[in-house]
Amino acid sequence: MSTFVKFIIDGKICLSEEGKQLIEAAKENDIYIPTLCNYPGIPPKGSCRICTVLINNRPATACTTKVTENMDIKTSTPELEDFRKAVIELLFSEGNHFCPSCERSGNCELQALAYKYRIAVSRFPYFFPERTIESWHPKLIKDHNRCILCKRCIRGIKNNEGKTIFAYGRRGQYLEINIDPETSKNISDELAEQAMNICPVGAILVKEKGFITPIGKRKYDYNIIGSEIENQ
């Protein structure tokens, strides 16, 4: 039988199963902690740092922390909020994110977070890196301009043999996630669709499907990201 623990988030007394991922435990208690590299159901990676909270006054990532009895968690001090904004701004500066023509606009988690934190422009200089589009695959496009290297695709998308269909290519600042020609052969339409949906931005696209959801029906057209948890 699972043991329940009591903990505090932003002054609110919360209950959840012991050992639960803090993100999930907060969600059960109607508290939203922003995430990007985390995806429900796949092992956390802790790479984007946007879920950073204060646990007993020490910063830690909520996606890789398990909840324990009497934890005292702060999710939104002014410092934390500014830190989160900075992380989002860095991601915008580092890639080529042209929301006006991106088919994920309105369904993009990075864009939705930028709106949530009212980011109009990045405080950091834009890199305008030269990146390519990988479009040789019959069903998928990988747009490296938009990839934030969260690796949700690598962790979450596996073919029939349980092998990932995405793979690391290049190194260091040139690191990119490519479509693996071997393991991605003959993937089903459903898996292609899942790959597109697991990506928080518009870096994985199913070919010839762009813009089929009209404006107004997209996930974040009228709802701020996280509001579905906070308004439960």
Binding site: P100, S101, E103, T132, I133, S135, W136, I141, L205, K207, E208, K209, G210, F211, I212, T213, P214, I215, G216, K217
Partner: protein, 482 residues
């Protein structure tokens, strides 16, 4: 000592341009040029992008008529996805796009006539600049100003309900449309509380024509003689010769109305149209290949359209068209008749909007068709300012590898240069004093074409116009900025 006059920036036009007028010792005009000084380059940076992105990406080159670019690109992509060349879409696919387009025509034409052009007509081209603007229209003719704002708003509301946003929406996708029109959306436009409904827009569009006709009665001489020169005229026409701003075949007539391009398929436009580059402008100069650059240039837009078409397929606009023709003749080569033609089209757009809103096809769910994939697609549309060409080629991996855009204002490049030349020679030449009013007259000639210089160079920024005065040694003597 000769001089050069420069009008920079040209005002009350979309984009950024300047005019130079070269004068000799006796202030006679020796050379005029309308330069476009901004540059954008969408044709280059669309390369490599997936083809279905083009309708949303390329429309960003304009904030005034993005719908035209959105639809021209979508029409080209229809060809690429094998959905035919304008007639292969499902009824709801085609009609939603038409509704979007007529909303666009209605808002853009209203904006141009009331906000940009009417101050010159109401107050005179030589009135003081502080008088000659839309604010004074609002002060002195409140009803007209309110109508102007609401007509534009109505057009924008049509776009909102078809494209999802008033500016830079996403409605048209390759092979069709991503939404239909709900009954609620339809009724908001069709039965909205007065004055905000399609019927009132028709009445107001008629009122605008009456306003122009009254003005014309009193100022016939000015309108007819301000700027006129023979030219060819080009536009799409429906296969039966009707005015059709969304789709048709390419037709051109000469200055006397003789057909010189006989209803050809626009997929083959490169066989008939060429573009020339001149060192002093970022805007190219298109011409009909058979006639060459000297004689083959043509006008596009409302004036050209009413010269090429045989009739208008909505009754009220057709009646106005007949009256217009009875006065202007078989072909009009008079610049300022463009305003009249534009207002007749505004009425036609309002009638089309009403017809389409009453069409139950708009509530169908059969939104998209696709067929055999093609490597190249050309999409043409009659944008508010004239014929707009989009031409794309893709590779085996669905990436755009080539793009050519000929924008309405580019088509009107030579005509605008001709207008500047005509007005400079007839109004400025030999005058001992060049007043601000005379310089504005040059702008009035350009403004009649409602140019969008940002579109034409695919450019960024605002559009002011400058006039520079240069002497025979090439030294700048005077610069007048707006």
């Amino acid at each position: 000592m000769s001089k050069k006059l420069t009008i920079e920036p040209v005002t009350r036009v979309e984009g950024h341009g300047k005019v130079t007028i070269q004068l000799d010792d006796k202030n006679n005009v020796t050379q005029t040029r309308f330069h476009i000084v901004e540059f954008r380059g969408f044709e280059r940076f669309v390369q490599g992008r997936p083809y279905w992105e083009a309708p949303v990406l390329v429309q960003r080159l304009c904030g005034i008529c993005p719908v035209s670019h959105h639809l021209a690109a979508a029409k080209a992509m229809d060809v690429i996805v094998g959905a035919g060349t304008g007639e292969g879409l499902t009824p709801v696919g085609e009609k939603m796009r038409r509704l979007m387009h007529y909303g666009q025509i209605f808002q853009s034409h209203s904006l141009h006539f009331f906000h940009l052009a009417s101050p010159d007509l109401l107050f005179g081209y030589d009135a003081l600049p502080e008088k000659r603007n839309v604010i004074n229209i609002a002060i002195e003719n409140k009803d007209l100003a309110v109508q102007a704002v609401l007509m534009r708003k109505f057009g924008q509301e049509v776009i909102l309900r078809t494209a999802g946003k008033k500016i830079h929406g996403t409605g048209a996708i390759p092979g069709g449309i991503n939404k239909n029109l709900s009954i609620k959306e339809r009724d908001e436009l069709l039965k909205g509380p007065n004055p905000f409904n399609a019927d009132m827009m028709i009445i107001w569009a008629q009122g605008a024509i009456d306003f122009f006709k009254n003005y014309y009665k009193k100022n016939k001489d000015f309108i007819d003689n301000f700027s006129k020169f023979p030219s060819n005229h080009l536009s799409l026409v429906r296969k039966d010769g009707a005015l059709d701003l969304y789709h048709g075949v390419l037709r051109a007539v000469d200055a006397n109305g003789k057909k010189i391009l006989n209803d050809v398929d626009y997929q083959d436009y490169l066989e008939y149209i060429r573009e020339e580059v001149r060192s002093w402008s970022y805007m190219k100069f298109p011409y009909l290949k058979q006639l060459g650059p000297e004689k083959g240039w043509y006008r596009v837009g409302p004036l050209a359209r009413l010269n090429t078409v045989d009739f208008i397929p909505t009754p009220l606009a057709q009646k106005e068209f007949e009256e217009y023709k009875s006065i202007t003749g078989k072909v009009s080569n008079v610049c300022l008749h463009t305003h009249w033609a534009r207002l007749i089209e505004t009425l036609h757009a309002a009638e089309m909007i009403k017809n389409l809103l009453n069409d139950p096809d708009l509530q169908s769910d059969n939104l998209v068709v696709k067929g055999k994939k093609q490597k190249r697609g050309v999409g043409l549309i009659e944008a508010p300012r004239g014929t707009l060409f989009h031409d794309y080629e893709i590779n085996d991996d669905d990436q755009i590898i080539k793009c050519n855009l000929i924008v309405s204002t580019t088509n009107n490049n030579q005509p605008m240069n001709e207008a500047v030349n005509y007005i400079a020679k007839n109004m400025i030449s030999g005058k001992s004093q060049i007043t601000e009013g005379l310089l504005n007259a040059v702008e009035v000639g350009i403004r009649a074409y409602d140019p969008c210089l940002s579109c034409a160079t695919h450019a960024y920024g605002k559009m002011p116009l400058e006039i520079i005065l240069i002497n025979s040694n090439g030294k700048i003597v005077d610069i007048k900025c707006k």
